[in-house]
Amino acid sequence: MYSFDIQRPTSVADAVAALGTDEAQPLGGGQTLIPTLKQRLAAPSVLVSLSAIAEMKGVCTMDDGRLSIGGGTTHATVAAEASSYPALAALAGNIGDPAVRSRGTIGGSLANNDPSACYPAAALASGATIVTNAREIPADDYFQGMFATALDEGEIITEVRFPVPEKGAYMKFEQPASRFALVGVFVAKFSDGVRVAVTGASEDGVFRWSEAEAALSSNFSADAVPAAPSGDGMISDLHGSGAYRAHLVGVMTKRAVAAAS
């Protein structure tokens, strides 16, 4: 690790101010960033910890029925408190191990946008809104490929708002070593249609599987899930070929629909 200064502001405004300086970077739960620093792969001169900002924490239901989760809320808190959205609570409760869940945050996960992470699938399938200190970004505009998002330098995710579907489920097939998603599929059935988001599979990061959405919107049953997508553009690595991942997209979508029904 290179040496750095650390600040722990207690308000979003102070955090944004602290991030205005050169080479400052926000620190969420540190579950991704700290290992990166230890390997000297990043060298921020100032870390701005978001963990003391009370207004960024917690889970509540908004007047319009959406579930609001503070950007600094840990996976463990979401698992325990997002009971009105069981598929989301279950997803959070299955990230990493207890230590990771006690530190890692939803804001950190969405900011990082790891192509194998779980939350991006939930946000995209739910049609969530990513709220930052500056604006509101619809999930459809937010995810821009592996590790790429619509966030600007120094912009902080303060809140994520999830519309709660009538039915929903997340099915994660774990990569054997990291236990991130080798393929994860989040299916959300709303009154006006079904959204299906896939993580872990594509070289472009999380994506919506539109063929499945169309088929499931007219018939929400596992049998209606179309043939698996093509393996082209799917991640191919030690743990599985693109063809295998594509196959799993089909299997996991079926299982998610079955679990949600």
């Binding site: 690790m1 290179y2 040496s3 390997q39 000297r40 097939f173 054997p176 070593a177 990291s178 080798l182 690595d237 030690l238 743990h239 599985g240 070929s241 063809a243 295998y244 196959h247 799993l248 299997v251």
Partner: protein, 791 residues
Amino acid sequence: MPKDHGIGASPKRREDVRFLTGAGNYTDDINVHGQAYVHFLRSDLAHGKINSIDTSAAEGMPGVVKIFTGADFEGVGGLPCGWQVTDKNGEPMKEPAHPVLAQGKVRHVGDPYAAVVADTLEEARNAAEAIVADIEELDPVVDMAAALEAGATKVHDDLSDNLCYDWQFGTDTETTDAAFAKAAHVTKLELVNQRLVANPMEPRVAVGDYSRAGDEHTLYTTSQNPHVIRLLMGAFVLGIPEHKLRVVAPDVGGGFGTKIFHYAEEAFCTFAAKACNRPVKWTSTRSEAFMSDCHGRDHVTTIELALDADNNFLAVRTDTKANMGAYLSTFASSVPTWLHGTLMAGNYKTPAVQVNVKAVFTNTVPVDAYRGAGRPEATFQLERVIDKAARELGVDPIALRRQNFITQFPYATPVAVEYDTGDYEATMAKMEELMDIPGFAARRAESEKNGKLRGLGVNCFIEACGIAPSNLVGQLGARAGLYDAATVRVNATGSISVMVGAHSHGQGHETVFPQVVAEMLGIDESMIDIVHGDTSKIPFGMGTYGSRSLAVCGSAMVRATEKIINKAKKIAGHLLEASESDIELKDGQFTVAGTDKSVAWGDVTLAAYVPHNYPLEDIEPGLEETAFYDPANFTYPAGAYACEVEVDPDTGAVSIEKFVSADDFGNVVNPMIVEGQVHGGIAQGIGQALLENCAYDENGQLLSASYMDYAMPRADDLPHMANYVVDHSCQTPCTHNPLGVKGCGEAGAIGSPPTVVNAVIDALHSGGHTHVSHIDMPVSPSRVWAAINGQ
């Protein structure tokens, strides 16, 4: 009723109190006043020519004490290999130089080529970034077959090629070929025993210290065998005589073989401590461990099994390529040869067995012993090919094995070893009983109802433990004796310290060894402590590996304790005014046979150190004895294993539903510890079978260089405890050591991989996927899916 003390009892492990309460003293807990820290610069290329290393900008950076490159080690010895293998033409193996820091070339990702010693680790890392190394990329040699092709790039330019040795062993070619020629059926299988990373929980650490006052060196290191390190490093690398070099291996958090070897970092810290006149400490990061701890396995094999028309085994022939990596590690050469070829007969009376092994240099991390060392590789090939033969012939795999069992002992195999004792029928029957084989069909039907394929896999194994008769291994090329030693020091009040050459790094010696001495003397175990891990305190023993601690060092301890008893009886005889031959020792009391005259253990020990009333004319005062023990033979634990798996045909995921091991370890001193050893061994075997894979890409880059990609087995990868039965009730005691023990440390890791793979193949066949005759380990979901789908 189970015993509550002594041999056969299961007292809780006394060492766990300190381990579980954070009071352990591991090498990284050792900080020597004034110590500096070293950071190694490691190659990120698999193969490269070092044109220049410019350290000038780094020299003056804050905290820098001294910077070293390969040039600083010219005139210093290289890391030695402890076993010379002679090839099939009578030529010695090729032994390339292995400098402490790379000289001329870097030969694998992780190969250290420079080192910065500084006041703090961060300062050392900062300075390391200012070093400019001009290293020209060379073609990497990664694949073993390509490495052996004519004209292949050479890992070592001064060798004629990348072949370390071409070894042949066992039955001669003519006899073997004749057996194959007359066979009614031949089964052939090509398989990979994949490269593994041992991953002990505690990464390696070394602290070098030097005292100018006495010209004395001390090395604190994470080792399984401190005396071996003192011998190798002192005599071959740094030229330090034994009496000026102390090696301490305190609490060590797991070894699994990978902490046997003498590593460059140990020699570096010892050397640098003197050069800098400051203690120098190195603590491996987990990332460094992946690219600098010796890897295990990495064999590619073709095996053939010949059977007659009645399904009797006629011959086995193997052809293996074994990866040595870039340099020859301490015992690397012995693993694919003497630790592997000698086990190729397995539990079977096959009359002809021929083993062929080519050892190959590649631009990868050196490969050496890992839990089982050669024996898992042998067992995997043999038990997989037998299973394949049973399937091809349409016979029951259990019956086929049974029919070919060795039943008469002692039994001399065609591959040089003589099994002293065993009962393979007994362990097979025990396994069948515990597995409830008749209930399998119903369990399979239940799985099928849930859309899963269920398979049953069985296999047997034999291993050679308790290495080794020194004269025998000497003939085979070992450059060290493999006896062990123990000193039993009885103190004046009767308490005892036993100084042993064995080293406990998880095995529980501190609990088990006192059980033996307490049983022999009839005193309480709490009066006895084990001292190990410090060459200045213990006799010159050879350490712990190859399931040898109790069989070899424990035997030395028994011999030393017998000497103690003999002398104590003399003292007791004097005190009781009786003849020594009439003295009996029972429950800590010396009694004159047939009388009620007795004297207690503590009175005798006190007399030995306060010899006021003592036969000084006949015996010396004091009560301390040392014994060295060189075994007459290896020991041969054996067993039968079985497991049931469920395969999800949609995803290829495999789960282990039930696992049974029926082992014969001879006599068992502490059943709980034996079961723990087997549980752990099976967990590692299941890890190899389903999860672990140390993979390189074609450029020699390590693909599985962290836990993000290297899959370790976790608790939920193993069957529930209720379905995870380890049995050791079949006992044929070893005939040649005083305790009748055989060793249990590696059995689980040897016996389990073929069990799991056999079960997966069985499951796939039950689902109609009969084209799948083999899947290489790890049998990961993607590989199972690919096999099902013919990809």
